[in-house]
Amino acid sequence: MSDGKPVILPADENSFRLEAYLSRGGYEAARKTLLEKKPQEVMDEVKKANLRGRGGAGLPAGSKWAFVPQTGDQPKYLCVNADEGEPGTFKDRAIMTRDPHLLLEGIILASYAVGIHTAFIYIRGEYEAIARRLEDAIGEAREKGFFGRNIFGSGFDLDVLVHRGAGSYICGEETALLESLEGRRGWPRLRPPFPASVGLFRAPTVINNVETIANVPLIFRFGAAAFVAAGLPRDGGTRLFGVSGAVRRPGVYELPVGTPLRKIIEDWAGGPAEGQAIKAVVPGGLSAPFLRPEELDVPMDYESLARAKSMLGSAGIIVIGDRTPMSEVLKIVARFYAHESCGQCTPCRIGTTWIRKIAERIGAGEGAPGDLDLIRHLAEGMKGKTLCPMGDAAAFPVLSIVDKFGKELRETISR
């Protein structure tokens, strides 16, 4: 066990280099684990650490891995989801920019636990420089023998490949990601079967967010107990909270899971921007329902936010100041989903654009009295009824804006 606390983001300038990572004790956890532990023990340790997925759904990582059938000799794959397309989310780029080797070490551990010999990092197309940094880091690690054949003399083989997306939000949805990775149009797949049994190239596949995988080495460096202690008992470790919008100090803040939202905004992000008050907050990426200023004392963990009828999601916090009209927010939200709907299933394909058109009309001062009811009806027609979670993602913020800021919107319409 090393000293200190499990922290993802290092402070120093050149932290992304291999020597810097090695000097922080990097790859030691992987070396020891591969030489001393059985895969099942690795999985058990991760389960004990209560590491929950950082991509949005919050599934415990250990049980996600356990879904992969260990029978048969077919190949299995790991796909690291580095698509990071959720508006308000920019935490994974921080990890990949500042600590790419932490991610790579996590890939080794996760792959070893599940018996995977090929891992992919699917990175969003716009992260070109970051993709290069990853490639460089992989090159460094491969040179040291951390990837390739017989890693650390353990007999375990693993290679990792970086694949750049082409700029589509939906490819962050795990099955669309698989389609895209296979070279096809990024359309989500019908489930079941789930990727754990039929995934990439029809083989069992684990798909984890960058931050989830980057947490894995910390569990082994500091122990599951220390990892749990860094967060909440049922939701271990830290979270990278990306704060943007009308705050004084926007940025990524690594804080314990469960830190109250108001504390993050006020103490870390410096509070609302000069001369503004907070009007609304998105707590977990744009797909999470909006919160009103009086709802900000919620602890930032999956369960607390679910109780507050929102979502921790990707922990991307967007703060809306009181100078921004909610009709403008509604329009921007609606435009985003109408632009990014993949077009496969009916409610999302048509519902997102219909809502966009209404929102634009309201924004142009041509709102009609029934518009808010109609938006609610259309969003309800998408919620829970689409092929992939994007229907919900598009419906939740819209519903919450209409429900929580209806008074302001009605005033805009009647003006």
Binding site: L190, T346, P347, T352, T353, G381, K385, L387
Partner: protein
């Protein structure tokens, strides 16, 4: 078997069944656009959502596999509301050009909307403008405004023909079916795209604007254009709205038969309706001999005369100088009468066969054989052989020819020479041909679609069919002609 309940009715279904299929078993048809039984569930139209007890959200009937004890509800308020929503989404951008759409009357958007919709439009925005008349190959036209993006066409071309001409381009509301520039659908199964399109997005240039679906009479039969024997439905109009008692065939579509053609037919068979429509013989023609002076050339007189000639030859012990040219386009029943009459009873000299020349097989449904019943003829003991034109005149005094297909094998001039030297020649054919002027008497017959009977297909499956369309006035099915002849001759057909 798995025990489930659908709408409160207990049901036993085979394991692995989907809810949609299980429901069909009890006669409950769950509406769908993207689902087609020939393909894996797609799950994209979201029309078939149903309520399954114990699950928080509605689930797809097309892809959800039954589990023991599952309780499914297919028309709760929640389900009906979801269906209405999907229909409302479809209608938002749909052009509503039903009055000029070929699919009107058999369009699933119309049908389901009628069942579930009936509400006023709340869509105040401008509809998406898309291209409405895109040639995508052969006779097909694509209308992107009508398209509901069910992708049945895309999947058909990927999974059935394997040609993959169509794909989805763009995304969100701009997503559209498209074809790579400079390519086109050229395969022999293109017409199926029109049938599987649940709306009027893919239409057939041949059928376009020709009729309304509700005028069409539908008759199921077997395609006679090759030996596969695909099951087809002939859609025609007799009388209204056509003037008088005019008859017109508008199109041929597949009828499902999993043992023969699945859900599909080839374009060669589909556009075979021209065989029924075009170039048909309409009236009896007597060119030389065949009728005593002063007798009108009608069916009764001609058949009586033919019977008299046969009888005279038979009684004079000259039955061996009667020759018959049959064809594998005849039904088993017709060939059976021929066997009994010409071979067993009369003992004619020669029974030949003249079939259409074999064509190319497409290694899927279309076989090389261009006649439907060669297996049936063989099963009845016939050995198909062509006549020897050199020997024919010397050995025969009476020749009965079924069909014009001697022309597929011999030059007309050679046939003319041979026919000239035979004193009595009868041609029984549905279509006009160069043989008409060579034969002494020409009798217009019916095509298979105008008959009942059976064919034995390439796989040995005997397929019975009923008359699908009325024969044109003046034409008679060969079976009827042969039966009349037998009764004139006093032959029991048994």
């Amino acid at each position: 078997m798995v025990n489930i309940q659908i709408d409160g009715r207990p049901l036993q279904v085979p394991p692995g069944s989907t809810v949609l299929k299980a429901a069909e078993q009890t006669g409950i048809v769950i509406p769908r656009f993207c689902y087609h039984p020939a393909f894996e569930p797609e799950g994209s139209c979201r029309m078939c959502l149903v309520e399954i007890e114990g699950l928080p959200k509605l689930d797809l009937a097309c892809s959800t596999v039954v589990r023991e004890g599952m309780k499914v509800w297919t028309s709760t308020p929640k389900v009906l509301e979801a269906r209405k929503n999907v229909l409302e989404f479809f209608l938002a951008d749909h052009p509503l050009d039903c009055p000029i759409c070929d699919k009107a009357g058999e369009c699933f958007l119309q049908i389901y909307y009628d069942q579930h919709g009936r509400y006023a439009s709340r869509f105040l925005e401008a509809k998406e403008k898309k291209k409405k008349k895109i040639p995508i190959g052969k006779k097909l036209l694509l209308d992107r405004e009508r398209c509901v993006l069910c992708t049945r066409c895309v999947r058909f071309l990927r999974r059935v023909t394997g040609t993959g001409e169509l794909g989805v381009f763009e995304r969100a509301v701009k997503a559209e079916i498209g074809i790579d520039e400079g390519t086109e659908i050229g395969n022999n199964y293109s017409g199926n795209l029109v049938d599987i399109c649940p709306v009027g997005a893919i239409t057939d240039g041949d059928f376009r604007f020709k009729s309304r679906a509700w005028f069409l009479e539908k008759g199921r039969t077997v395609c006679p254009r090759c030996s596969r024997g695909c099951n087809i439905v002939i859609q025609s109009v007799c009388g209204f709205p056509l003037p008088g008692s005019q008859r017109k065939i508008y199109r041929i579509v597949p009828a499902e038969n999993q043992e023969v053609n699945g859900y599909w037919i080839c374009d060669f068979g589909r556009y075979g309706y021209q065989d029924i429509e075009e170039n048909r013989g309409k009236a009896i023609a007597v060119n030389k001999g065949g009728l005593p002076e002063g007798k009108t050339a009608n069916w009764d007189n001609v058949l009586r005369e033919l019977a008299a000639e046969i009888k005279a030859m038979s009684e004079a012990g000259r039955a061996r100088r009667i020759g018959v040219v049959l064809t594998s386009l005849l039904t088993n029943e017709e060939l059976g009468i021929c066997r009994q009459l010409f071979v067993n009873v009369l003992g004619v000299g020669e029974v030949f066969f003249a079939d259409p020349k074999p064509g190319e097989s497409d290694s899927y449904l279309l076989t090389a054989d261009r006649a439907p019943n060669a297996r049936g003829a063989a099963a009845l003991g016939f050995t198909p052989k062509l006549p020897d034109l050199e020997r024919l005149p010397g050995s025969l005094d009476l020749l009965l020819v079924f069909g014009p297909h001697l022309l597929d094998h011999f030059p007309a001039a050679d046939l003319a020479t041979a026919f000239q030297e035979i004193s009595r020649t009868y041609l029984l054919a549905a279509h006009r041909s160069a043989l008409d002027s060579l034969a002494g008497t020409v009798l217009p017959t019916a095509v298979p679609a105008e008959k009942r009977g059976s064919f034995t297909n390439v796989g040995g499956i005997v397929q019975s069919f009923e008359r699908a369309v009325r024969a044109p006035k003046g034409c008679r099915p060969e079976g009827e002609i042969l039966t009349s002849l037998a009764s004139e001759l006093g032959v029991e057909l048994g």
